[in-house]
């Protein structure tokens, strides 16, 4: 089957958690969009609010073998040829929250109001026509970056993009990269 979109396969998403200043510009930008019902699909989290002002930001990591899609009993979540894991097909999603519990990154959220799961699709309506995701275009501190590997290498010479995550015995490879100290190859969560 042919895909006639102009998705740029060279560009990738890079998240640099240490650069997140918690301004929530990304959440505001995401919630501007009518595609997701003006709910933000990106979430800014406080790490340990009583002791630090550090925040982190979470977009969908777009796993190579998406566990959310694997556990979906209604076949509502699918992954396309660009590696984008799409949000629940609204006609199929039964709101069972299997994906919410299965995702190791805590990305899918059940929106009770609609009885649907909704999650980040890397702004597929924008990226499929060659634009950058909304959050990455508004981030003032460079915590969210969408571009080529060469660009990020030039911008962050002391960091390496990592897309392998180790959760105990489960190794998850993702499309989205996390910026880690130079030379890192994987992020071991536990």
């Amino acid at each position: 089957m042919s895909n006639y979109t102009t998705f740029n396969r060279n560009e990738e998403f890079f998240v640099d958690m240490q650069r997140c200043i918690g301004c929530k510009a990304c959440e505001m930008a995401c919630a501007e969009c009518e595609t997701n019902g003006q709910d933000s699909m990106i979430h800014v989290n406080y790490v340990e609010r009583s002791t630090t002002i550090q925040t982190t930001v979470q977009v969908c990591m777009h796993c190579e073998d998406p566990v959310c899609a694997n556990v979906c009993p209604a076949d509502a979540i699918s992954k396309d040829e660009f590696g984008i894991v799409h949000t629940a097909n609204t006609e199929r999603c039964i709101g069972c929250s299997n994906c919410v519990m299965a995702c190791p990154f805590g990305v899918p959220k059940k929106i009770e109001e609609y009885d649907l799961m909704m999650k980040c699709t890397m702004c597929y309506d924008r990226t499929s026509i060659g634009k950058k995701p909304m959050c990455a275009t508004v981030c003032p501190s460079g915590a969210l970056f969408y571009g080529t590997k060469e660009q990020i290498k030039e911008m962050r010479p002391n960091s390496s993009p990592v897309n392998t995550f180790v959760f105990g015995k489960e190794v998850v490879n993702t499309k989205v990269n996390i910026m880690m100290p130079k030379g890192s190859t994987e992020l071991i969560i536990y």
Partner: protein
């Protein structure tokens, strides 16, 4: 087959998470579909043919009273059903004073037809089919055959219908 291996083998094949696989129809699956559908059509039309061969339609027997002449004005119609049958008929009082009786089912898709007073035409509103009210022949539209007719017998003040005699062409 254990549940796990069934999941891996069949479930993931039937409900793939990759869009390309979900939209992909293999040559073999398409051929299977074609064979099933055309086989189904063949068996189905065979059944229809067998039914009409072994259980032929029963014709109208004898004379059946429809109504009095005074009940049906010129250009008017009277619908009726012959006892023991469910086929709807209609009796038409044509403008020239004669009577005609036809099945009220269009020969195209069985919609109910009606007589348009003053035109001499029977109209089917579904697909604009037109029949000649004098003979029942198709004048326009998709119907493939003339409307089945009954012969009308007028005895005094009463109108009766009988099975149509062979057409003399």
């Amino acid at each position: 087959m254990s549940k796990e291996s069934n999941l891996d083998k069949n479930w993931k094949k039937d409900f793939p998470i990759h869009k390309q696989e979900a939209a992909q129809v293999s040559r073999r699956d398409f051929a299977k579909f074609l064979t099933l559908v055309s086989g189904g059509l063949m068996v189905g039309s065979g059944l229809v043919a067998a039914k009409s061969y072994f259980l032929p339609k029963e014709g109208v027997e004898g004379e059946h009273f429809v109504c009095k002449i005074k009940d049906i004005p010129v250009g008017g119609t009277q619908t009726f059903v012959i006892e023991g049958s469910k086929i709807p008929y209609m009796l038409i009082h044509l403008e020239d004073g004669t009577f005609r009786a036809y099945e009220q089912k269009c020969t195209h898709l069985s919609c109910a037809v009606f007589y348009k007073p003053g035109t001499g035409e029977i109209h089917c509103p579904c697909h604009e089919g037109l029949f000649d009210a004098k003979s029942g022949d198709v004048l326009a539209g998709p119907p493939p055959r003339a409307l089945p007719k009954l012969d009308v017998v007028v005895k005094g003040e009463s109108i009766y219908v009988t099975a149509a005699h062979e057409q003399i062409s």
